[in-house]
Each structure stands twice: as C-alpha cells, then as structure tokens.
C-alpha cells in the first residue's frame, strides 16, 4: 500500500551540504499530530523511515487507524518541512507493519499525561477470547478509581473514561 505525493522539484535548490537522513528525520519528526498537538509524529511512531532513493528523499509514514483523517494533513506538513529544508522528496504511506501503541515513545506518553490524556498501558483490552477490564489512572488527579464510559472516544485512537475520585471525564489513548 503505497501512495506517492511528489513535492514540486523546480523549487528545490541544490545545497552544498545536503542534510543527512538523520537530520531530516529530526526535522520531519517534529510535525505535530493535528488531533493531539502535544505529540509529534516521531513520538507517536507514525514516522517510520527516512531514506535516500537516488537524489530523492523518501519519508515513510503509517496511519494509527485505517480511517485516520489526520493522515492527509500530516503528509502535507511533512512535504512542507522537506521543502523548507530544500530537499527533493516524497511521502509514502505504508500499512505494514501495522501501527501499534507500543511504538509510542516514553516521552510521548509523559506528554500525553501532562496534556490530560491517559497514555496506553501496554495491555490489550480486546483481541483475546475474553475482554479484560483495565485500570486506567486518571491523568488529572492520579487516582486509579476510574471507569470506562465508552470504548470509543473523540478520535479513533481514544476511549472515554471518568474519574470516580475527581469526577472529571478524560480521554484514554487506547491500546492497539
């Protein structure tokens, strides 16, 4: 599954020192997730690779969910970042290997909690023969006394919870 979107090459200047793959990774990795702007695509594990193919740089990204509506914007932002680096490149969207919350960085999880979203726990709620109820800690007051209101939340990647201690509702970035 590959979608190609080329950046217009006529605007690209040849630089005396071409940016390395690592520095391109660092720059495009800063693109924020439009749905959870506190996270970058590097934090999320949506950014999968940066490589040179001849004179062209290919940036690979993967969606969190098949229907994730943020992908078009993320792709566009990555293209703009490449252009700002004067890099001739394109963005590829791949589905395999399938994205998992296990790819989220520890820094990303900490940022999520601070933002008021409970991060993934590393335990699958579904997929086995029985569903398991998990305790998710309230990101606002820290209480483990919380209840799931709905397994589906404000975006595909979240579920909706309520804290029984501070009574605040909150989102949980659900495990996938």
């Amino acid at each position: 599954m590959v979608t190609r979107h080329s950046v217009a090459s006529e605007e690209v200047r040849v630089l005396p020192h071409e940016p390395s793959d690592a520095s391109i990774w660092d720059a495009v990795g800063e693109v924020a997730d439009p749905e959870v702007p506190v996270l970058t695509i590097a934090d999320l594990g949506v950014l999968r690779g940066v490589r040179h193919e001849g004179d062209e740089v290919v940036v690979t990204i993967t969606p969190t969910y098949s229907g994730c509506p943020a992908m078009d914007l993320i792709r566009h932002e990555v293209e703009l970042t490449l252009r700002s680096l004067h890099v001739d490149g394109r963005v590829e969207t791949v589905l395999s290997p399938a994205w998992t919350t296990d790819w989220m960085s520890e820094a990303g999880k900490a940022k999520l909690t601070e933002y008021g979203i409970a991060p993934p726990t590393g335990t699958r709620a579904v997929g086995g023969p029985v569903s398991v109820s998990l305790t998710i800690r309230c990101p606002l007051c820290g209480s483990p006394d919380t209840a799931e209101l709905s397994r589906f939340g404000s975006t595909s990647c979240k579920s909706l919870w309520r804290c029984n201690s501070c009574r605040e509702p909150f989102d949980h970035f659900k495990d996938l």
Partner: protein, 246 residues
C-alpha cells in the same frame, strides 16, 4: 490480476457499504457515546474500504481511483454481500448485524494477513486490530440488551432473527475464491464463526435463529432493493458535480 482485482473489490465493497450504513447512526444513536462509537467504527470501515478500493483500481489498470469506484459504479457493479446493505432497523438490529459482520471480518482478516499478496496482507493486518474492537463492542451490547429487560430482550432477538437469513452469503465460497491462491475461502471458517456468535447469543439469553431460507446474490451484483437508495445518497453529490473538490 483480474481475479485479484475482483476479489479486492468484494472486500472493499463490503467495507464501504457497511461504513455508509454505520454512519447513518451519527446523531441518531440512543446516546451520545454510541454516536461516537458507531462513528468511529464506520470510520475504521471506511479507511479499510479506501485502501482496498484504491488497490482494486490499481490492479484493474484502467486508471480508476478509489473515488471512481465508490461514486461512479451502479448498483449491479457492486459486489458486497446483502447483509451490509440492509437498512439499519432499530439499534438492536444494527448491533446484531455488527456482531455477525465484524466476527466474519475478524476471522477473514486474520487469515488474509498471512496471504502472499503484500498489500492485501498489510490492509488485513491493520484492519484485524480495529475489527477486534468492533466485535467487542457488538458483544457488549448483545449481552446487555439480550440479558436486559423484556423489551430489550425481545428487540435483540428480533434483530438477530432479521439479520440471520443474510449470514450464509458471507460464507458462500465461489469459483473466484477457489481459483485465486491469495483468496481466503470463507467456508473454511464458517464453523468457527458459528461457534463464536453462538457463544455470545447464548450468553445473552437469546436463541440462535434457525431460519432455513438464506438470501444470496450480492457477489454477482444481485442486491436487495435497498442498495439503490443507499447509493443514491452516497453518490449524488459526486455525480451532480463530477470532479469537484473542496
């Protein structure tokens, strides 16, 4: 290539039509959380449909995009099973369908993610994790409604009964799936499907339906009278303003 394209189109049409029906619940579900849940389930199905239709178009090699396939084909050219095109009915009926369809998709994608075609395997490997949540959601509701009040039990049973005569079509393997090496013959996992849905239905105190008559024809483009109306709503803007973008 032709077989693979036709096979991919079937899977894509199932997902697309299911997504369209599921999305009809948005702003009409019994509670706000359910609007959100069905909205997200529909979005997953739509995402799967987009990947599959895009790939079907590439394989076909006639330059048709996912949008061309979704918006500019007529009823008889759609290859989805009739189960997904049926009107939603009440909430219990929709949940009954979701249980049947998501359990089927889960078993199918589980097999398909190991197939030799890299793209189909990739789509299936992604989708199987999403569909696990759909199965779980349907299961929770069947249990709650079936094992609830007399009213909710009666409606859950009626929903299961209404959708049952459309389930055999899911497993009717034909020439194409037997001929195409990467295709999964759905009849191979029918027994497991029956075991899983029976377990949920019995736990919900409902009864597994026993209707002997079963509808068929969707894979050959023969549909119920409901698909035309669904397509009219899905396609009319694209057909009224071809090539428009916003």
């Amino acid at each position: 290539m032709k077989d693979l394209s036709a096979y991919t189109l079937r899977l894509g049409d199932d997902a697309l039509i299911a997504a369209q029906r599921t999305a009809e619940w948005i702003a009409a579900a019994p509670q706000l959380e359910e609007d959100v849940a069905l909205g997200n389930i529909g979005l997953d199905q739509l995402g799967q449909a987009r990947s599959l239709l895009q790939y079907a178009g590439e394989l076909e090699g006639e330059g048709r995009s996912e949008d061309d396939l979704a918006y500019f084909r007529d009823e008889r050219e759609f290859r989805n099973v009739q189960l997904v095109e049926l009107p939603n009915g009440d909430f219990a009926t929709t949940i009954a369908r979701l249980l049947f369809f998501a359990t089927y998709q889960h078993l199918l994608y589980e097999e398909l993610r190991g197939c030799a075609d890299e793209t189909l395997a990739g789509v299936a490997g992604k989708a199987v994790k999403e569909v696990a949540y759909h199965v779980d959601h349907a299961t929770q509701w069947v249990l709650r409604l079936g094992d609830g009040t007399d009213e909710s039990h009666g409606r859950m049973q009626a929903g299961l009964d209404a959708m049952w005569p459309y389930t055999a079509e899911l497993f009717a393997g034909d020439e194409l799936v037997r001929r195409l090496p990467v295709a999964v013959d759905p009849s191979t996992f029918e027994e497991e499907w029956l075991r899983r849905v029976t377990q949920v239905i019995e736990e919900s105190t409902c009864t597994v339906p026993t209707s002997s008559y079963q509808h068929s024809g969707g894979r050959d483009g023969r549909h119920s009278e409901h698909l035309g109306y669904l397509l009219a709503e899905l396609q009319h803007i694209a057909r009224s303003h071809p090539g428009a973008s916003w």
